[in-house]
């Protein structure tokens, strides 16, 4: 089925899309400022799961890299694993919603959705979840690890969904989320207009440095 016939969807079916979008809207809810729904995080995720055509944006923002060789193989393997987790996770979320509220997840009230999602973070998995959070730098620790040890295909459905919501909310808009840079506006991040600005070296953070410079030599009194 073409993208057009599919309502713009590349991977999810209509029900899966609606379920993921509703769950993401509880993970970063809309209040006086936009949340995951307005940022387009469902579109971000749908694109990611569509294959290996949207893994890496070209660094100047002019489209996406074509993966080849071992790298392409690794990404096919990873995306396949993630697709399976989402298909099963969405079914599980609906199963739990029906068992508890007699309706699919998308038909629940926001409070009921929160309850259903909280149940997905079920206590017997709490320890695994915490370990996963440590492993991904998501949830803890407080400061980014100086390296990233994310192996997201090891995550369960819910932490995976929470991670991808966050990624879709804050990553560069080129990936289909962070629409109108709503994620960056929320937190006060004065990012580049586009990847091209950073790539060309036109983006500078100098205005956000200290107004007053430290004169180290003078203040320490023992210059070279």
């Amino acid at each position: 089925m073409s993208e057009q016939e599919n309502g713009g969807r590349l991977f999810f079916d209509e029900h899966q899309w609606a379920t993921v979008e509703a769950a993401m809207a509880r993970i970063i809810p809309t209040d006086d400022q936009p949340g995951a729904r307005e940022a387009g995080t469902a579109e971000f995720l749908d694109r990611y799961l569509s294959g290996i055509d949207y893994v890496y944006a070209k660094p100047d923002g002019s489209g996406f890299e074509k993966l080849e060789g071992k790298r392409a193989g690794a990404w096919r393997q990873r995306i396949d694993a993630l697709r399976g987790k989402y298909a099963e996770g969405i079914e599980e979320l609906d199963r739990r919603s029906r068992a508890r509220f007699d309706r699919d997840f998308v038909e629940l009230s926001e409070d009921q959705q929160d309850e259903a999602l909280a149940e997905m973070e079920r206590p017997e998995q709490q320890k695994d979840l915490e370990q996963a959070q440590v492993a991904t730098g998501y949830g803890a620790p407080p400061e980014p690890a100086m390296q990233q040890t994310s192996t997201e295909i090891e995550l369960d459905f819910f932490p995976l969904l929470a991670l991808h919501t966050r990624q879709g909310f804050y990553s560069d808009p080129v990936y289909g989320g962070n629409r109108d840079r709503v994620g960056w506006r929320l937190i006060g991040f004065e990012g580049p207009e586009s990847l091209a600005e950073t790539h060309a070296g036109r983006y500078t953070t100098r205005p956000f440095f200290a107004e007053e410079q430290i004169d180290w030599k003078k203040e320490n009194g023992h210059g070279s």
Partner: protein
């Protein structure tokens, strides 16, 4: 499979084109030595880098992909190893310097003699280095001036004597550097601008470094930061004596009938196996991968791995766990603006002090939050989702910064790198298995330093602080050392003081592997200074016609 002609034997074959291999290549080629460099990863130019956290950090654009390059980890010999991307480093020309933070403090005199200063530490293999600060000082200066390091000589009152200042002044002051400095002043602590692999003003034909939020963990699209990719590799290439071969994965170093290193067997980008002979081999793969390559290079003469008669290859591994206290402030800090990169430091807790109840000390420094976005940032009491999580992102992200530490972990005999029994990488080779259990001294130092860091944040006016104590070692800052220790005694070290294998006189290791101890400071400046020193030694030996036949004590 296509047959390719065997390449000609070369003077020196360097495995790896990162910080250490790049430095050695520059020094050797500029001295007239012909070098072949075999680099496992690609040769990526600056045009291939961009400000994209999702790609660079979460999707392994720069990090090794764990599906292709896994490692395994276990906490002790009794545990079942599990796959974990322990202490990865980018596998490409430039190595870790492609995406690093680039903090380049010098070690101090006592780093080279900590055992003498602090005495025996039970359960550790703490030793003095076979070389001193004075031995390295000229090379620190050479690297700082050739590489391009910004800093302020004398600003760190605990710095050891230096023969020359820095080529460019410190980088501009960030808000978080300023807060850190104020907190230190309040408590009477010395602080100084972190010496950095960046240029505050044009230098040596290069422009000043661009200030971007996308620095730490991102490649540099402007090529204005100092890195092996932007400095050493071009300097070596321009000599015409640097045959850099990217995408060439060395599987084994072979030996001849005399037990000397004969050739590197590597697989090129087409998958073809090629044999490269050389008079001298230098390993600069990082302490984990250099040890792994030696262990992979087994023969009748070296059944436990090349140059491993001592059984010390891979042992005493140290990894500098990074941890931090985080402070939240009323006023905006914009800590993302420095790219995690432009900072201030203190050596107030660097030197050993018996009264603290642990051995050693740590470089502490102000650091940004996010890399630079909150994709990979959080706080201990931030829920994983929901309205409260969103509130904390909104109110804390732009209002917080960290004071981080470099944990000076103690060397232990059983903390080691080995070959895994079952897991192979995408090239069919057994992966590195790390066995590591932190020493009580490591944990005690971590708790003590994090408490001091939190007090600095309090003194700087934080309304809330978080203390994150290192509880286990995960290799989270890519620093790695001591798997091929240098020393004067072949029974207790793998390499001599010139980083030449005791057992194989034409084999050198120039990464962090030769460091006998981890020290409490970021290692790369010292790795590069030491690689320069070793490369000069190789040039001298070659010039004297001794052809590196003087392995052994005091060579």
């Amino acid at each position: 499979m296509a047959r390719k002609p065997k390449p000609e034997k070369v003077d020196v074959c360097i495995i790896g084109a990162g910080a250490s291999g790049g430095t050695a290549a520059k020094v050797l080629t500029e001295s007239g030595v012909n070098v072949v460099a075999l680099e496992r990863g690609p040769y990526r130019k600056k045009e291939s880098f961009g400000g994209d956290e999702l790609a660079n950090v979460n999707r392994y654009n720069l990090w090794p992909d764990p599906i292709l390059n896994p490692r395994t980890y276990r906490g002790s010999n009794d545990e079942e190893p599990r796959e974990e991307l322990f202490c990865p480093v980018p596998q490409m020309v430039g190595g870790g310097t492609v995406h690093w933070q680039g903090w380049l403090p010098r070690f101090t005199e006592n780093d080279f003699r900590l055992k003498t200063v602090a005495g025996e530490v039970p359960g550790t293999t703490l030793v003095d280095w076979p070389i001193s600060y004075e031995d390295l000082e000229p090379y620190y200066t050479k690297v700082e001036w050739a590489f391009g390091v910004s800093g302020q000589a004398g600003a760190n009152k605990y710095e050891s004597p230096r023969s020359k200042g820095y080529p460019t002044p410190p980088m501009p002051t960030t808000n978080y550097a300023r807060k850190f400095h104020e907190g230190c002043n309040e408590l009477g602590y010395d602080s100084f601008p972190t010496p950095m692999a960046a240029l505050s003003e044009p230098y040596n034909g290069r422009p000043a470094t661009a200030l971007s939020a996308f620095a730490q963990q991102h490649g540099d699209p402007t090529g204005t930061r100092s890195s092996a990719l932007s400095v050493w590799v071009p300097q070596a290439l321009v000599t015409g004596r640097y045959d850099l071969r990217p995408d060439c994965y060395v599987h084994e170093i072979t030996t001849d009938e005399h037990g000397r290193a004969k050739s590197a067997i590597y697989q090129d980008a087409d998958g073809d196996f090629i044999e490269q002979e050389a008079a001298v081999f230098m390993l600069g793969c990082g302490a984990v991968e250099s040890a792994r390559l030696l262990l992979l290079s087994r023969s009748g003469r070296f059944p436990n791995g090349l140059a491993n008669g001592s059984d010390l290859v891979g042992r005493n591994a140290t990894f500098h766990e990074y941890s931090a206290a985080v402070g939240v402030f009323d006023d905006p800090i914009h800590a993302w603006a420095g790219g995690g990169y432009v900072a201030a430091s203190s050596f107030e807790f660097y030197e050993h002090d018996d009264s603290r109840g642990f051995v050693g000390g740590s470089h502490i420094a102000a650091a940004g939050v996010g890399i630079p976005l909150p994709i990979n940032w959080s706080l201990p009491d931030r829920p994983a989702w929901g309205a409260e999580a969103k509130r904390m992102d909104r109110e804390y992200y732009d209002h917080s910064f960290a004071v981080g530490m470099v944990l000076h972990d103690m060397p232990q005999h059983d903390n080691r790198v080995e070959l895994d029994d079952t897991v192979e990488d995408a090239w069919g080779l057994p992966v590195a298995r790390i066995t590591l259990n932190p020493h009580e001294n490591d944990l005690a130092m971590g708790r003590w330093v994090i408490d001091r860091n939190a007090e600095i944040l309090d003194a700087a006016g934080a309304t809330k602080t978080y203390r994150v104590y290192p509880e286990r070692v995960t290799g989270n800052c890519s620093h790695q050392h001591s798997t091929t220790r240098m020393g004067d005694d072949p029974d207790t070290s793998v390499l001599n003081r010139y980083c030449q294998a005791h057992e194989v006189d034409n084999l050198f290791v120039v990464d962090g592997g030769p460091f006998p101890t981890a020290t409490g400071a970021n290692p790369t400046l010292t790795i590069m200074a030491n690689a320069w020193r070793v490369a000069e030694h190789v040039v001298r030996q070659r010039g004297s016609g001794r052809a590196t036949t003087t392995a052994g004590k005091g060579a």
